[in-house]
Structure formats: C-alpha cells, structure tokens
Assembly symmetry: C2
Homo-oligomer: 418 residues x 2
C-alpha cells in the first residue's frame, strides 16, 4: 500500500485512495485547520491548469528547461511522466510509485525524499511551452509543431532599459511550482528535473519567498520589497467574466492554435529593485511614484485600498493628485483599452549585487489571454514614463504558452501533441 508523505511518517492514516478523493480547495480530513484555513491540496486535473486562479500560495520555485533531444517521442514521454508525477505530488504523494525509501536497494529511489513528512502544502504545478519549443534558435522545427505555434507566442520585443541575462531568460519549457511550504515547491521542481535527465536540462530557476499577488477575494493583499501592497487591482478567481476576457485563450483566438483554448500565456520578468536607493526616498516621494499610500494602499485620490483611483482629481501646482508618472496611472487598464492581467509575482533575494547591496526584487509572473494586447503595451508604457522604472532593472524575461488542463489519462500538452 502506498502511503502519503504524511502517512509514511505515521502522522496520519491517509492512504492514496483517500488522498485521491480530496476536493479542490478543501481542508483535508487529517489536516489540522490552520488559522489561515489554507487548503491542503488542489486538484491537478481540470479544464484549466491549477496554479493560475488558485489562491496564490506563499512560496514559489519556478524553472525553465531546455529540451536536449530532438526526439518528439522522448519529449512526449517526458510530458507524460511529468503529468503523472505532478498529479501525484500535488496530492502529497511521492513523485513515483515506489517512493523515496522503498523498492529495490540496488535502484535509485523514484522520489528524492526531502518532502517526507511534509504536508501537501497546497502545491500546484503549472507547465508552459516557450517559443523555442516550436522553432529553435536556428529556426528548426525539432518536434513537428512549428505550424501550430500561436502568433501571440512570438518572443517579446526588447523593452527600453532591459538588461537581460540569457541565463535568466527564455526556455523551451517552464514549470511553476507554488506551495505554502518552500521545501514542497523545491521538491516538486527537483523531482521533475530528475525525471527529465537526458531529455531536458535546467536553463534557469528562481525561488520566490513571498507572494506579492492576490488571486482570490479571500486573500489579503501582500507587500512587495518597496514596502507597498501589490496586486490590489489583480484579476481574481471570482471574476469569471474577467478571466474569460483577459486570462483564458478562447477557441477562436488563433486558428493555428486551437490547441491552446482554455490555456493562457505566461509572462515572467525578473525585476531587480534598487532597494537601497528606494529606502532613501522620502515617504511622500515613494507614495507619489506608486500613486498609492504606503499604509493602506489607497489611491492618493482617497478612499480605501479597493477604491478606484481618480486620475482627474486636481492636486497642488496644477498637477493631478495622482502624478502623471505614477505607477498606478501608467499601468491602469483605462490607459490600455481595458487590458488586465492575472499576476502571480513573488519577492526574491538572491544574495548580493556588485554594489554591496542585496540582489532583491520581484519575480513578476502574469497570465494573460494575449501578450500583444495585455502585456507589451503596458510594459512599453512603464519603460517610457513610469516613475518606478528608475528603481527597477529587468534582468530576465520569458514568455510561455500555457496549455489547458488535463483530465485523467491525458498528459500536459495533449491538445498540441495528441
């Protein structure tokens, strides 16, 4: 009998069958109800992939992979193996059927073991396909899918001010693992990388320690490393019409890419923050750059956090009270034909920078229906006129098509490769 990680340590009696019956978003029967009422497991299967509208978990491990084989068969076999392992791990089971400590002594375990005894942690695993999977740097169609590449998956343009590190950018495949326990997220990425040995190599990976987005009305808005609430105006899971309009790809969006219907596009941007410079700015200046108060997150035009900003309200010196270059104004949907994003960003600190400061910032992740209308114009406007830009440095960038979800028996990308 296969036991869950929890059961393995004797902490509970949840056998695999019972685990499989967990409903999405519910607290499991053998899981103590924490004060936050965080659910223990989310279903991996569904019409959409989990990890997009799922209430944003606290921690992230994100990885991009390069496919090191030219064999379509090997690639599809890996996607099947990844699907099975992801389905298992999100239930709190080991990555493989044998597990970390059983099976033959002369074989490597099919799970690495560092998650033994840890709860499922609300783990979600979300997969994406990069432009280079369809056509590589030499223009080759390695996997016979070039004619199904969505038009919206063209690599992002170069944005003014970007200083992109190729070792932190792009990739053939991506995996986003979110969980409330970072060790659970790391365990997931690590075991998927292990399964991919010989088929893929890790191109880059990013840990995020603190969520900066709110994807459900049940969540409080967290803070980024500028100390401000972030994600106030995010598209949230409860906004079903907005999800259809701004997040999910429609069946009619792209005749060459009907396989992507029910999926989305993932934009990842590693945004370094010059926090040492920021920390020396007066409070009023910080608030003017953002266009919101630092305490409650209310717009400078007044009200509460969720109050709609009044961009016309006059301030002093013939200027509006929300400055013309305030972040909230520059990125507001009203300035971009109503385009909104579902963001899932995380704070990061990756050691130090050469200037004697912390290499800190925001790992920006956004899901959009079409990056050409929902991301690029907003990014161009930020690069051109956002007061925050002076304190930001984008060092990594990537775009992925996120296929729809899977039913039991289907593998990630089945609509593309099937």
């Amino acid at each position: 009998m296969r036991l869950s990680r929890r059961g393995l340590l004797g902490g509970g009696a949840a056998a695999a069958g019972a685990v499989g019956a967990y409903a999405a978003g519910r607290v499991t029967a053998d899981e103590p109800a924490h004060a936050s009422a965080a659910p223990a497991t989310y279903d991996f299967r569904g019409a959409h992939q989990a990890g997009i509208t799922t209430p944003a978990q606290d921690r992230l491990h994100f990885a991009a992979f390069d496919v090191v084989t030219d064999s379509r068969e090997e690639l599809v076999a890996l996607l099947q193996a990844w699907t099975d392992a992801a389905d298992r791990m999100t239930r709190g089971l080991p990555a493989g059927e044998i597990g970390p400590v059983e099976g033959a002594a002369n074989l490597p375990p099919d799970d690495t073991g560092e998650a033994i005894g840890l709860a499922p942690g609300g783990l979600t695993i979300t997969f994406g396909f990069g432009p280079s999977l369809f056509r590589d740097a030499e223009g080759r169609d390695r996997f016979g899918i070039a004619d199904r590449m969505p038009a919206a998956l063209e690599p992002l343009p170069h944005f003014p001010g970007d200083e992109l590190d190729p070792a932190r950018s792009d990739g053939d495949l991506c995996v986003q693992a979110c969980a409330d326990d970072p060790q659970v997220a790391v365990h997931a990425i690590r075991n998927l990388a292990r399964l991919g040995f010989g088929t893929v190599s890790v191109r880059w990976s990013q840990l995020g320690f603190g969520r900066t987005s709110t994807t459900s009305v049940t969540q409080d808005t967290p803070r980024n490393l500028f100390g401000f609430k972030d994600g106030t105006a995010n598209v949230k899971a409860e906004e079903t019409t907005a999800l259809e309009d701004h997040v999910w790809v429609g069946a009619e969006d792209d005749p060459d890419a009907a396989w992507l219907a029910g999926g989305s596009y993932l934009v990842a941007r590693r945004i370094g923050m010059h926090i040492e410079v920021w920390d020396r700015q007066p409070l009023a200046d910080q608030e003017a750059f953002v266009g919101r108060t630092k305490g409650t997150g209310a717009p400078l035009s007044g009200g509460e956090e969720m109050t709609e900003p009044d961009f016309e309200m006059p301030g002093s010196n013939d200027q509006p009270v929300i400055p013309v270059d305030a972040h909230v104004r520059v990125v507001h949907p009203g300035a971009h034909d109503g385009a909104r994003m579902l963001r899932r960003g995380y704070n990061f600190v990756d050691g130090t920078n050469p200037l004697g400061g912390l290499d800190a910032g925001l790992f920006f992740v956004a899901y959009v229906r079409d990056p050409r209308t929902h991301f690029t114009p907003v990014q161009l406007a930020m690069a051109k006129s956002d007061a925050l830009t002076e304190y930001l440095q984008v060092t990594g960038s990537a775009l992925f098509a996120v296929p729809p979800g899977t039913a039991s028996g289907e593998h990630v990308g089945h609509t593309l490769f099937g």
Copy 2:
C-alpha cells in the same frame, strides 16, 4: 502610540508595552495557537544571544558585512543602532520608532514596510565578528581591538576540496536572521543593511528555505536535500551541560578574549550538493554513504533514529555494517575527542549551476566553543575520508566570534568595545 506590525493593520490590539512583556518561547496572547505551537516571539536580550539554542526556525537570511569606515566611533554607533533595531524587530515592531508609514512626508521612513501585517514569526537576530574586524587584510588594527582577538578566531585553514568564492566567504561582521516567515527574516537583514549605509556594505548574503537542524528535543528532525534526516545528534537546548562543554565560550578559555565569555564561534559553510548525481545512486549506496537509513534515520546498525550507532557491528565481506567511510562514523564525536557542535543549517537553492542542474545544497551553520577542536578536525576528517564528500562542493566559508547577549541598555559587542 506605537503599534506592533500586527496592531498596525487592526488585526490585534497589542501595543508596544504589552509586546515587551512577551516571555521567551511562549505563545503570545493575541496569537492563534498554531498546530506547531510555534512561539510568536523570542527575547532578544539575555545572557546569550538568541538564535543559537532557540528552537530552529524554518527559514534563514544570513548576511556578512564589510565595515567601510575606519572610525571606531561609527562602528560602535552602528552596533548600538543594530541592537535597538534588532530588539524592536524581534518583538514584531518596525525597525525604527517612526515606522514605515508615519512621520514626516519629506523624510525616508525608518522601516521599509514589507513586514507590515506579518506576525513576529519567531524572529531571532544573531550578530558575529569576523577575524578581519580585528586585523584587516593589510594587517591593520582599524578599530583598536587587535589585542583582544581570540586565538581561536584565526581564519580557518584551507580544507582539501574547497573551492571558495571570495564573494561568498568571510566578512567583518555577520548577522543571522531566522524566522518562521522568510519575509520577516529578509525584512530584518534589509533594515539592518539600511541602517548600516555608509558604515558597512553587504559582502554576501544567503537565504535558506528549510531548516536542517533540530536544536530542541521538542522538534522533529527535518531533511536535507539528499533526502535524509539531518541533525539527529545535534547538541540541543535542553542539554545544558553539553552546551557549556561544546557551545559556550568559558571565561577562562582565552585570557585575551574574556569579552567573549558566554558567546560562541559561528562556522558558516556553503556546501553545494551534486543532487543530480546523488539522485542516480541506488538507495543502498545512499544509505551506506550516510550510515543511516533514509526512512527513519536509524543507524545501519539498527534501532531507531536516536539509537547510538554501533560502529563495531560486523556486516558482509568482513566490513562493518556501518562502512568505514560512512558520514555518521567519520564525524562522530567518538572520533574527535568527544567534540560536538550545535548546528543550525538550512537547505538552499540559488538558481542553476553551469551543468544544467540546480545550484542546491546546505548552508551549514554551527556554533562551537572552539573551532580548532570542535570544527577543524571534523572537517579535515570529512575531506579525507567521508563518502559524502564526492557529492559535495564547498563554495563559501566564514568564521565569526559571536559575543554574549545583552541586557537592556547594552549594545551587541559591549564587552569588546565598552
């Protein structure tokens, strides 16, 4: 009235006065009792610094600093400011008296704000002094303390196999911030760095996402990224005699360094793990390298996790059942005149390595009474004959003297600079 971060958001009514009355290790009155019964706050003040015998928190941010001034006065002023800020932040208060969102609009806030609304998270902040603080690379006694440098603070010898990156090694000062919430730990380091602007610069910093040590008998033994339980034989807070023998510096240990009595030495080692290679080793080999089973952590000679290993028990092929090069044998106190360490290590993943794998490993932190007897011989034995060494690569190393704790009104290092 100054409110705690929790109080600021209206989530509680704990004013600063009440917060100040929190007893060490107790759950605070306005804090929900989590299943883990993790305490909300630990006293910063005491005979010893907190963060050594404190039950190991889940997350770490560790930073080493270089002092960029030659002024003893400025250095001592920073230590005073750091002491005040650390005392405040461990109570869940902002780093400064004004806080992140109040005070004059034309001044920078004296707290950066990203911890608004977060619980104190069991934060501890622990300070140390590196060899170069006493005598810099040119042999200069910048701060008039060279004659008080402990003999045991001589820089560690070069160990076979080390490939040290100077940008991840050494430092004049160090700060270890441990908390159950990583954003709380990052907030602490970031605000201390902010206070140090112009006096210190960050030399290196390291995040750890998962504790690998157990410093109290109340804690379960966690797992490292080899998937094994780590820290089973650690010196624990309840072993008061062992703490005196192996962790705390005695008043008579070094006549030149009486100021260090009640303190300790901190050894930090950034140990990269070749996890991709490890994951391809058979289970029996992994267990032979460690000398314990992967499941329960029991020694290969039998029993339970806490059973003492029987190094004489015969195995097959005229070899002992615990191999001669097993990690547990090589580092066992019995092989080192009984020397033990109090370890406080953390798992890390810092992106990727050039081989297409994860840059993953263990950030080893140990507190010892004398590194010459309690660390160096063990490390030399590991480098020479430990089977695990083939899977490890040490890329950073540092040694610090950790001064004793402070009473109210005293600053960190008062016995050295007072």
